[in-house]
């Protein structure tokens, strides 16, 4: 029996299920920048006046859970299908960020091998003053378990 996507959407979308705190380490994001090939000193040099994390760095921040505790098991093994970032303000070394996660979207695509379910988990990141600095989306895909 196919999973009822509308039921999942109405039951789980936009409900916060995880909150974690991150201490932002400048050395870590500078190494991230260098290994990814960044050359701009604002991302690689801690002594630069505008030293900040590359926008995509927030994709490396991992929450405590990726799905709500009561989310049903859908069958197949989830695979990382993509990452999305919305950047709103610079993230500086030494900042303390709070990441709050919710399911932002649930949708399906059907191909020759059957239906795939996509889950988009969004972590909203806020600084110490409560300023919303970024969103980090993780798109997980799983092949629906065939009907028995």
């Amino acid at each position: 029996m196919e999973t009822d996507i509308e039921e999942l959407r109405s039951g789980f979308l936009n409900e916060e299920f995880d909150e974690v705190t991150f201490e932002i380490d400048g050395e870590r994001f500078a190494e991230y920048a260098l290994s990814c090939g960044e050359q701009a000193p604002r991302f690689t040099d801690p002594a630069h006046a505008d030293f900040q994390a590359p926008p995509t760095f927030v994709s490396t921040l991992v929450g405590g859970r990726s799905l709500p505790v009561d989310f049903p098991r859908l069958g197949g093994v989830g695979m990382d299908a993509g990452k999305g970032v919305e950047w709103m303000a610079p993230i500086r070394a030494g900042a303390t960020l709070t990441g709050k996660s919710h399911l932002h979207d649930i949708y399906t695509k059907t191909g020759r091998s059957g239906r795939m379910i996509f889950l988009v988990t969004r972590m909203e990141l806020f600084d110490e003053e409560g300023v919303h600095v970024a969103n980090a989306d993780t798109r997980t895909v799983m092949r629906e378990r065939p009907s028995e």
Partner: protein, 140 residues
Amino acid sequence: MSETVTTVSDVEFGAEIPTFTPDTSLENVKRFGKFVGWGGPRFTDHEAARKEGFPGALVPGVMSQGFLGAMIHRWAPSSEIVAIDTVFRAPVLVDEPHQIVGVVTDVDEEAGCVEIDITITNEAEETRVFGTATVKLPTG
């Protein structure tokens, strides 16, 4: 078109961004794993990855996304990436050459924003990762 752009006026619709060859070497992926995370065997050990059924060690998806960001900043050093969406279509394999190409698909001179489609391909010219970015540039 020059190798770098400074303001949105320098950007032409349809322009190709200079091709970027990311460092997918095992040494670099191990460095990423050591300092950033994703240092598990499937990323840092070809043999261990093969035992998991992969053709070889994998470049972490978050690192591939970082490559796309680096390519944009190399082309437009004063830019701010305000949004980037990345689709992991197939694995990027460690120690295999890859190229990243990008093309400007929209220019909003008034807002100082450009849209870019970016693709990571392997030597067989197969798409491994596809991304779309919205980038803000000075309007100067």
